[in-house]
């Protein structure tokens, strides 16, 4: 979307309800953590200015979307123009891990990105601060299985974080920023969005033009 500033990098955080998407965003942007869970309705975003690679300043617009299925129809609006997608799961919730694939697919379908194979994804396993006993058994194996098989064998970066303790959050988002920037630069290099702002438009059959009143 060439209509936006190049330094504004849009990042979408996806994942099942309750995996900690909002907490990750709040921890990264505001260094805050709330113990009280409140399901996100619709979507919201926060913006943070960060410096990466050789003092390059970028503005990360991090969209926190609703994990609930009923809001997924809105995804098309939120996903459009994303530069990076964060797939988030809960290290204590195996189902959320298993759903990463569907979140990726949903994103690719609704966002209509031009280079789905190359689009940058990052995987974050959140809540590592909980007891190991509560974590998914054989997590690494299962994760590797998912990344190799279900996510197309692509080597997506994986971070294990704790939004509560602030563990690895900064590092994860630094990588996210770098990846988003690369994607942005790649889009520019490929000349995407130069002739059109809508890559999901549907052509409409045009009625013959009238020269007089047709009412």
């Amino acid at each position: 979307m060439s209509g936006r500033k190049k330094t504004l990098l849009k990042v979408i955080i996806l994942g099942d309800s309750g995996v900690g998407k909002t907490s990750l965003m709040q921890q990264f942007v505001n260094n805050k953590f709330s113990h009280q869970y409140k399901a996100t309705i619709g979507a919201d975003f926060l913006t943070k200015e960060i410096t990466i690679d050789n003092n390059k300043q970028v503005s990360l617009q991090i969209w926190d979307t609703a994990g609930q299925e009923r809001f997924q129809s809105l995804g098309v609006a939120f996903y459009r123009g994303a530069d990076c997608c964060v797939l988030c799961y809960d290290v204590t919730n195996e189902k959320s891990l298993n759903n990463l694939t569907s979140w990726k697919d949903e994103f690719l379908v609704q966002s209509n990105v031009t280079n789905p194979q190359d689009f940058p994804f990052i995987i974050i396993g959140n809540k590592i601060d909980v007891d190991d006993s509560k974590k998914i058994p054989s997590l690494q194996k299962k994760l590797q299985n998912i990344t190799n098989n279900q996510l197309g064998g692509l080597n997506y970066p994986v971070f294990e974080t704790s939004a509560k303790e602030g563990i690895n959050v900064e590092a994860a988002f630094e990588v996210i920023a770098k990846m988003a920037l690369q994607q942005e630069e790649l889009n520019d290099a490929n000349g995407h969005d130069v002739s059109d702002d809508y890559n999901d438009a549907i052509n409409i059959h045009l009625e013959s033009e009238y020269s007089g009143c047709a009412c």
């Binding site: 919201d44 129809s73 609006a77 702002d197 809508y198």
Partner: protein, 928 residues
């Protein structure tokens, strides 16, 4: 109804008030509304259009037309300003009418229309359009209204099924500009690209197609993202009890997070940046911030009339929508700003009409309310009122009032600025923060004080019946809360500074004078700022004079009187000044100045009583100046007054020597030479000389000593001649006599008796031995004898020869002496014989020392007597030594006589001889 919203950025609140602007009386329901210039058009469920207009001279909107345009409910108005047309959608039929009067046009009706929108050319170009978007069940049409032909031309038609609502938007995309339409069909929101004829699907707005959910597409300017940044709010019913608002730009990109509600806004939405107003089921009004996305208010609409429709027997649902700006008179603000005279409330000063405006309206069945942001002046006014009754040091609310008022005061002008300044200033003054108040206290606009000085003096306790001034009502009704501590020093300083700006205000001037406490200040004020007010003697100046009297600023009072007398001289003022000066004479050090002041103003006084009174007092203080004045003004009309003064002095102060002498002096000074004046003086002198103050034993004794001394000095045993006359002796003894006053009067009286011939045998005074000398003027007595008895021998001798007394050195009234009648029939020889006899009588015992006889015969013997007569008179034992001079004179006289005889004889002989010779000569000539 008031709606308070917490601001996102600070602790302040934004307050809206719902002002009723329209109230229709018919039973049909308001369905839509639009504005055009000063007109409001209201559509109803029965197909009527109510046309309201706001005239300039009335505060609100007036119904001027009620037009039945259709049988069906009116769903929408679309104003086409570029051609002055309005398109009215009734049911699915749209009809053109002329603006503003709604007269019909010849344009054909548009049918099967679900919604209409003006086509927008460019988001950056607000040029009005004559093109319309018509949303129908099967397509979206772009049409153009052709004004000349009064017809609608179809420009483009795009297939799009079930469009129920849409708005035109534009977007500058990567390479080209394109017209876009945000449209809602029966389930989805989509973007239609009119140029490229394509659809960009957005999202569903309802999950259940059976629900009666109406889509909302609200365009607004996102002011947090720069100018002309248009965004769109789209509402979504996402499920059982949740709804969302999505925000997108014209490209369909989401621009901000979602707003979520538990209900769907069935009453509509309106945005007044940065707040979104929505009416939800059960008439809940929810207000959300578009910046923080927080719900700011969730309230039930209260205070607005709840209505039920008879038709549906259900509670009426309020609706909310945004229109173009509507202005109504801000009656609340005008009420507090309207100035009226503080006391005479009938003298009201109308301010210009002040409107407040809004763009968000709430509609009920028959009424329309305008949501007006609370005027900040009203808000500050409320805070000010609160601050007046609360502790300003500890209350943060009061401080915030001040901060806000100070921050905006310079943004306003006219009545509002003046009102703000009043509030700030009075707030400061209430807390006695004079330093802070200074800036506003002296603030002027067009050389006129913003805050009336009358108000300031009133607040500080100076109130008068005529103290009236215009004051904004909002200030006036709070004056009772302002109890200022008395601070005369401050008020005086204030008035000193502002006085030149005030036009002749009696109340201010009075206050100024009340505050002045020193004579120096008075003088400075009168000579300076108050100068022009002392050109007349009016009631106001009378009041000020009373103030000075009450303050006992007498020096000031004298100064003021003097100042007034210079400009408006009057008898009354002169009298007041003289009264005051005399009242203060004991306190006035410089009596010369006091006397001069009185005398300077005496000519203004016509009242003889006052005149004589003041002059009399002046004479008491400084008789020289008083007399000088009387002398120089003795020919004035007050001459008689002057005399009366003297008489009064004589009668009242007869026992006061000074005044008695003063009376004499005055009479002397006013002598005209007439017998009356001399007589008056004579009487006065005579009266005084025998008065107890003069005719004292001391004076009498001292005088007797003088007499005795004189006798010694003039003793005939003394050979020195001439002897000094008695009056001259007295005269030279003035200053050493011990009875100078008496002597002075004695000499004057003597002289006056002499001049006026006033010697009276009946005058008992003259019978006193002390005045026995006066018998010299007694016509019944021989003056020579009297003079001799009083040892005044020279005078006796002079009188004997001249028949009158000699001129005295003590001649006080020399100018009138010439009028004295001289004695004419005198017998010098007899007079001299009397004297000689006296001398001879006095020397019988001691002839050796008979110098008087020697003197007499030497001086008069040969002139008036024959030697035989002298010889006969002289006793035989007179020493020859005393006769030598006389005899020599006699011999000389005899010789002279003898020589004369011889010479006469010779001359006679010579004459005879000469006559004979002449005779002979004539005889010879006759006989040739």
């Amino acid at each position: 109804m008031k709606i308070e919203i917490d601001n996102d950025n600070d602790s302040t609140k934004l307050v809206y008030s719902a002002e009723l602007i329209l109230d229709k009386d018919s039973e049909d329901i308001i369905t839509c509304i639009t504005c055009y210039e000063s007109n409001i058009y209201v559509g109803t469920s029965s197909g009527r259009v109510l046309h309201y207009h706001r005239f300039e001279d009335i505060p609100g909107y007036m119904l001027i037309a009620n037009i039945q345009v259709h049988e069906d409910s009116i769903n929408k108005f679309v104003i086409i300003p570029v051609v002055n047309k309005i398109l009215i959608l009734c049911g699915t039929i749209a009809t053109f009418y002329n603006l503003p009067e709604l007269s019909p046009t010849n344009t054909r009706k548009l049918k099967e229309i679900n919604d209409i929108s003006l086509l927008q050319y460019s988001s950056e170009n607000n040029r009005s359009s004559d093109k319309l978007l018509l949303f129908t069940s099967s397509n979206v049409r772009i049409v153009q209204y052709e004004e000349e032909q009064e017809q609608v031309k179809l420009l483009k038609q795009i297939n799009y099924a079930n469009a129920v609502k849409g708005i035109s938007t534009t977007s500058t995309m990567s390479t080209n500009f394109s017209n876009l339409v945000l449209v809602a069909n029966n389930k989805n929101y989509d973007i239609l690209d009119l140029r490229l004829t394509r659809k960009i699907p957005l999202f569903e707005y309802r999950t259940d197609i059976d629900t009666q959910i109406q889509p909302n597409i609200i365009q607004f300017r996102a002011e947090d993202k720069g100018p002309n940044n248009q965004e769109y709010l789209l509402t979504i019913n996402s499920g059982d009890s949740t709804s969302l608002a999505m925000f997108i730009n014209s490209l369909g990109d989401v621009t901000r997070g979602t707003l979520t509600w538990s209900d769907y806004p069935i009453g509509g939405l309106a945005i007044e940046w940065p707040y979104l107003f929505g009416i939800f089921p059960d008439n809940k009004l929810k207000i959300s911030s578009l910046v923080s996305l927080e719900t700011k208010q969730d309230i039930e609409i209260q205070g607005l009339e709840q209505e039920t429709t008879q038709e549906f027997e259900m509670q009426f649902q309020f609706r909310i929508e945004r229109t173009s700006k509507i202005s109504i008179e801000n009656s609340s603000l005008m009420e507090i700003l309207r100035s009226r005279y503080f006391k005479d409330n009938t003298k009201s000063l109308l301010t210009e009409t002040i409107d407040h405006s809004g763009s968000v309206i709430i509609l009920s069945q028959s009424k329309v309310w305008l949501l007006c942001p609370e005027n900040e002046i009203l808000r500050i006014y409320e805070a000010w009122q609160y601050a007046l009754t609360n502790d300003t040091d500890t209350d943060t609310d009061t401080q915030s009032f001040l901060d806000e008022a100070l921050s905006i005061v310079d943004q306003y002008s006219g009545h509002i600025k003046s009102f703000l300044i009043h509030m700030i200033l009075l707030y400061y003054l209430k807390d006695n923060k004079i330093q802070e108040a200074t800036k506003f206290l002296y603030l002027t606009i067009d050389k006129k004080l913003v805050v009336d000085a009358h108000l300031i003096v009133y607040l500080y306790g100076f109130n008068y019946d005529d103290l009236d001034f215009p004051l904004p009502f909002g200030i006036e009704k709070n004056l009772s809360k302002l109890t200022m501590s008395k601070n005369d020093e401050f008020i005086l300083l204030y008035l000193k500074r502002v006085y030149p700006l005030l036009n002749d205000s009696p109340a201010i001037r009075r206050t100024y004078w009340k505050l002045i406490n020193s004579d120096d200040e008075v003088i400075e004020f009168v000579n300076g700022k108050d100068k022009l007010n002392w050109k007349t003697m009016d009631n106001e100046n009378e009041t000020i004079i009373r103030i000075l009297q009450e303050k006992k600023l007498f020096k000031s009072l004298i100064f003021v009187y003097q100042y007034l007398l210079k400009t408006v001289p009057s008898e009354e003022l002169a009298i007041r000044l003289c009264d005051l000066l005399l009242q203060l004479k004991d306190d006035i050090a410089d009596h010369n100045e006091l006397v001069s002041n009185i005398l300077d103003n005496l000519p203004l006084i016509s009242s003889e009583t006052s005149y004589s009174s003041y002059l009399f007092e002046v004479l008491k203080i400084n008789k020289d100046k008083g007399l000088s004045y009387m002398k120089s003004n003795n020919k004035s009309k007050f001459k008689s007054v002057h005399n009366e003064i003297m008489q009064e002095i004589s009668s009242k102060y007869g026992d006061e020597l000074d005044f008695s002498l003063l009376r004499i002096e005055f009479l002397e000074s006013s002598l005209s030479g007439t017998s009356n004046s001399l007589h008056e003086l004579f009487i006065e002198v005579k009266k005084l000389i025998v008065s107890p103050t003069i005719f004292t034993e001391t004076n009498k004794n001292n005088f007797e000593i003088l007499v005795q001394t004189y006798h010694i000095v003039n003793s005939l045993n003394d050979s020195k001649w001439p002897k000094i006359p008695w009056p001259d002796y007295l005269y030279i003894r003035l200053g050493t006599s011990g009875c100078d006053d008496f002597i002075g009067l004695y000499l004057k009286l003597l002289e006056l008796v002499q001049i006026t011939d006033e010697f009276s045998l009946d005058d008992e005074m003259l019978h006193d031995e002390i005045f026995s000398y006066f018998n010299v003027l007694n016509p019944l007595k021989d003056p020579i004898t009297i003079l001799l008895q009083h040892y005044d021998f020279s005078s006796a001798e002079a009188y004997a020869i001249n028949g009158q007394l000699p001129s005295s050195k003590a001649a006080y009234y020399r100018d009138f002496v010439s009028k004295q009648q001289q004695s004419i029939n005198i017998n010098v020889k007899d007079n001299l014989k009397t004297i000689l006899n006296y001398y001879l009588d006095q020397t019988t015992t001691d002839t050796l020392n008979n110098f008087a006889v020697a003197h007499f015969i030497s001086n008069y013997g040969s002139s008036y007597f024959t030697p035989n007569e002298i010889m006969e008179k002289l006793p035989g034992d007179v020493p020859l030594i005393h006769l030598v001079e006389y005899i020599e004179n006699v011999i000389i006289q005899l010789k002279i006589g003898n020589k004369q005889n011889i010479l006469q004889k010779s001359l006679i002989r010579a004459d005879s001889e000469l006559t004979k010779q002449i005779y002979r000569q004539f005889s010879t000539q006759e006989t040739p």
